[in-house]
Subunit: 238 residues, 6 copies
């Protein structure tokens, strides 16, 4: 079940904070990746299905520099196989002491039409990656080649990333704040709900900046707040 | 004893580093909050009396999304009660895995005339908060609603924030480097001393950039340094 | 054996990521400092021989504010003795709870012609340091005076910094990503090799951005890739 | 509503692991204190209502050694006021760099009839405390006096301890594995359920040690398992 | 290629420290699991081939208590399938905030003839596990059910455990100090070498306790040391 | 100025907790090593002058296994030079991922008459070391040879250990709780004071166990407490 383009569009216009609240209401409290940050905070939202790559610790004899001569090396294969519109999500065991990938692979992924890349480790060539018009998220910059500490192993299996479970096909949303994982089967309904919540939050923000108190407005426990929101939606076409 | 406006003005013109040294001389070595950063580093200093909010870990049954419908929820109340000119300081137990607050509450606080907001956890909607002309400080962005991990409990009690003791009424100063806590009874004398120290440091910086060695100048163990400073003050009206 | 100016120039044009790979091939896997970041990411590469300063934990009775009146205080002496073109590297035991140095000392170092400064702790006056046209690297901003937690002890002895061994005279290279340590005896050959690698990586990046797949190209396991690189070098004068 | 003595007796005979499962079934996933260990692992279970003490970071001028001469110092008062049968639970902000209390206070607490003591920091005189026939739990030994880093502030307010919310009157259970917090209103029903679960687990353990496979037995998805348990209860008087 | 029984016997008589040195000589520097400890330090060495179980973070909707009613739940299946003589090694992502397994499963594993169990998280019912005559290793006790934070996913795939790569069939050796991973293809030769090294270390220890200096003896750079060892071996039948 | 034998004897009879308080009164708040534990908790106090060894991170090319063939390797030399009655204190940068030393070196140190050994890393062969009648303290067991991560560099220079400054000749005291550093010039007076404090604490403990309240007794703000202590001292010959 591919991600619908309408759902993708809706998710491009909502924040990870709003998504957190929507999932919290359904009992999913742990879908925001911990301590993962955008390299380029000026880009629009990243939205795409998860295509995953799993790393384990590198054993020195299995990870000489020559492994990249193997055309079947999983890191290279993942970059060439990640579908258009998908997000490559790498389980680096939260270890940023060596890189998860560098700018050449990230560039290739961008050119191939992927929607973005996420690791819970770090990227090398991070200044170059940050300059690409391509959403990328990591913990912190890390120059050492991935072979130093990571062995690429599995492609498109369920993983952990930033302490969140990521199943292939889950919908990954990244904004300037970080990265959120929507279970695949909830994507459409969450997108709808988040668009509604965003409209309300935008209304509230306007009201608050005009000087209105929060209590009774957010949440709208007073009828007047609800009425005003109806008017605001009409006036703002939302 | 409210913060004098002259003291506030003086503290707007000094750095947290200078304040650290002034308090170090008095035996207070631990007044700078650890690992707390400004969301918007282009703003002038934040100065205001501490108005505090204490969080404890959230128990799930006590923190459904519906708690915000209670007009007496301490987080909401704190935002509505924080005095004009004060800084809302939140004890989040250094836990940034869920948010301490989001942009709507921070906006409300700004509109109400508060001087700033500090948490030793993280804010959600951090890109929006960073865009406000309002000083805010946290550990790192965190999208999950505060209910996920934090229960707001107490208003205006002594707390810890970033490993520093904060008593209501203490004077909070934030600059681009971080946040400092001046015990209330010391605010006036420290402000005076810090202004003096700042003048001397500005003089030294000018001299150093002209090529003068540090030894004998900083600290001014040579009489010439002291004399030159006297002239500099006169010339610069400080 | 001073750092040759040609070697310095070459290292100004390569990245720490490339250097990591070059040393990885020689079995040195741990030469990139962990969690150390530039204060000013707009500067060109920092390159210089290591001149070191070692801190131990501060005992309160040995570190009153008056110690700076001693013209032989090691921190001050290090700043006045660091050779032109060298990088002052400070072992702060990865403890950023108090500063390693502040803007006045860093300014002095700049004026004296040093190539840069690195600590695995934090700097105070970090906004001022970040505004200097002088490469500086640390873990995070830290306003408390160094006396709070650090006692400067030794000058130009082998140290650890960011979990890397640094011997006086090792060649320190910093870019926007972080800081790398080249053992002194390898500097010339590594510089040559890194320049070659950089040319190839620039070629690959161009090709990738044009749409070429990675496999066979990076590394160049296909002869066509090697041939194209030869042409590219000629065309680009590299 | 004091803790019923039958409930206390039941909780003395169950494990914190069993309690975790019982609360997990009710959606409370975070009631086991993280990284808190018994000083004396040979004692029977600790069971009692929480009587709390809250610490904030110590400011040096407020915490000279002379504060203990004040008969109203909250740490001393807490030890003298903790009710018989209660557990003193100290919020030390998970900071074990200085002690939460020492053997003399713990001895006094024991003599007064308290049920035990818990901190998420460390105890000093830990070898002496470990030798007392009195349940005590901490993170790790810590010799420095509490005044070094902790200021005792509040008595019997809601706190966090080991990342768990603790409200005065909650029922604290400690075994050789660690410490669990039962919300007061659930204590009776949880005690009943845990006794039942324990009987079943004891039956399963016996069966498993005799060689029976887990599947179908644990949980008892096969009718035979349920039948055998009925027989076992009768035979064992449980 | 199963583990030879002679190799198993040899490995029962050597220490993880000796094994570390043997692998260090071959360039494998990272085969000792970090921060993993025996629950029962009175048992002889654990030796067996790795049979692995991989956990990812638990998503709440996929991990209700009822999942254990599924006879195909991977955690249960792993316990029933782990071969006789093998060690069950669990990748818990170094997260000990919830259990990896409890005493009933560990008992079943013991009864089925496994050689031991290792997790880089924690066990629940740890006091009961510690009392079993069965080698078990973890980070620290943890009472919450694994469902709280872990979802069992894969059986017998390559994993990371305690920052070490573990491939199915690797030989796992545990002693009172911790757990070591020998790549399968090296097991025989390492066992031989470690037995030799152990003989020499036992000789050296005896000599040192008699008062002999280390230099020249350890390593045996003096011929006399080598000669004495020859005699010692003969006298001691080793 | 060697440690007087009377001072040594006095320090054998007091606790690190008591010493912490004595130094706290003099403004030295940071003399207890953090997170350092005895391997053998059944031994009497360790007391001796510090003889130090400094490690830096190991660079692979400088630390092959053959370095131990050099009779001047600083680790071996330190063990052979540590004076009788002294404590070898190793600065391992708090990194326990590889060993600081193993049982053979520790045995040699014991045989040579040293008073003990301390590292802020870990020991290998820790079970053997724990069985020696020789005080040893570390963070946690660690089997990998020190060459993996540590290069021994300096002997008997000032170091940091467990976040405490240690100068050669400082008096190191270890008990079941941990390790304390007394600045050399204070050793005699602190020993006297600690013996006095210990007598009072023993008196208080007896009284408390008899049922006496703490307030007025500890500290002895009531005259009766002081009078009773005088009698107790006479009766107990202290």
């Amino acid at each position: 079940m591919p991600l619908k383009s309408e759902t993708r569009d809706k998710l491009k216009a909502v924040s990870t904070a709003t998504l957190c609240t929507a999932l919290f209401k359904r009992g999913l409290r742990n879908q925001f990746m911990q301590d993962i940050h955008p390299l380029n905070a000026s880009l629009p939202n990243m939205v795409g299905e998860a295509f995953t790559l799993r790393y384990i610790p590198a054993r020195e004899d299995l990870n000489p520099i020559t492994v990249f001569q193997n055309p079947r090396h999983p890191q290279r294969v993942a970059v060439e196989q990640c579908p258009e519109g998908a997000v490559l999500v790498i389980d680096s065991r939260k270890d940023a002491r060596a890189a998860s990938a560098g700018s050449i692979l990230v560039s290739r992924l961008m050119v191939r039409g992927a929607a973005g890349i996420v690791t819970d480790g770090g990227f090398r060539d991070s200044p170059e990656i940050a300059a690409l018009p391509f959403p990328s998220y990591h913990q912190r910059p890390s120059a050492p080649t991935n072979l130093t500490l990571h062995q690429a192993l599995d492609i498109n299996v369920p993983i952990g990333c930033g302490d969140v479970a990521v199943f292939p096909g889950d919908v990954i949303v990244g904004d300037k704040e970080g990265v959120f994982v929507i279970p695949a089967h909830l994507a459409d309904e969450i997108a709808d709900e988040a668009v509604e919540m965003t409209a309300f939050e935008d209304f509230v923000t306007e009201e608050v900046l005009k000087g209105r108190p929060i209590i009774g407005l957010y949440p709208p426990t007073e009828q007047q707040s609800k009425d005003d929101f109806v008017v605001w939606r009409k006036n703002n076409g939302r």
